[in-house]
């Protein structure tokens, strides 16, 4: 059991880091929800904006991926 406290800290840290992915989920949900509410009001303009939708999702998702990366680093690299 000696020295396991570092291991424990790693796992707790990795678990805490994954909380950040929830923020990305909120961001992506907000973007898609707003896109849908706009698209249903003016469906004819929606088709041209799907590229913008995916760019927005990609940017919002990036920070969730960063927290995922921190978790991976704690689990396997540190």
């Amino acid at each position: 059991m000696e020295g396991d406290i570092v291991e424990m800290g790693k796992f707790i840290g990795a678990g805490l880091a994954t909380i950040g992915m929830g923020g990305a989920a909120i961001g992506v949900g907000s973007i898609v929800g707003n896109f849908l509410s706009g698209a249903l009001r003016n469906p004819s303009a929606a088709g041209g904006q799907t590229a913008m939708l995916f760019i927005g999702i990609a940017f919002a998702e990036a920070f969730g991926i960063f927290s995922f990366l921190v978790a991976l680093l704690l689990m396997f690299a540190v």
């Binding site: 059991m1 590229a51 760019i55 990609a58 960063f66 995922f68 396997f76």
Partner: protein
Amino acid sequence: MSADVETAGPQFHPMEQFTVEPLFGGHAINWYTPTNVTLWMGFAVLAIILLLVIGTRRRAIIPNRTQSVAELAYGFVYSMVEDVAGKDGLKYFPYIMTLFIFIVFSNFLGLIPMSFSTTSHIAVTVIMALAVFISVTAIGFYKHGIGFLGLFWVSSAPLALRPVLAVIEVISYFVRPVSHSIRLAGNVMAGHAVIEVFAVFVGMSLFIAPLALVGIVGMFAMDVLVAFIQAYVFTILTCVYLKDALHPAH
């Protein structure tokens, strides 16, 4: 006490599928060693050649099935570059098409059970992202000279805010290759790891197995979607960065 817990519980090794191994035995990996990454990248290139070179060789007016798929892919990327990067971005279309087709084929080949997904490695995606980053920066400086730095100077903001915004813009510019590469690798890796975890649940007990099997099917369906969407996102972000380089003024 921890030993008997480990023997009793299921063995989780969800990251083992991503190990790079030499194809012909041994453990030493040098830059010239053919590994499973080399093999599956070779398969991707082979599949691309089959579709885009052999498939369109006849150049029929009325295309057969393979040729229509190739034309569809070409038209899809072409209109994406034209829409996002503008008409003068079309000069760089071959490069963007190469990126898109390679990522799509690597992602989908990685979905075959027991295969190896090359794009799950950050080392692979970071090369592509860095190539995009360096070439886009070079294009920006080549086209606009020192005026390319206007990208960081937001002229529509109040004067007092501009230095602060410039710092933020510079940081976000240099974070681009990081997020660009890790988004692709992280999504592919996470999808495959989750499937592996669910697979362990299936072997665990008879009561959980049906539920976990449904979970695998659902996750696999999402992975098919993610494989395409992440290739699309990678390509469209390349187009956005290219547009920034071609028209840096805010």
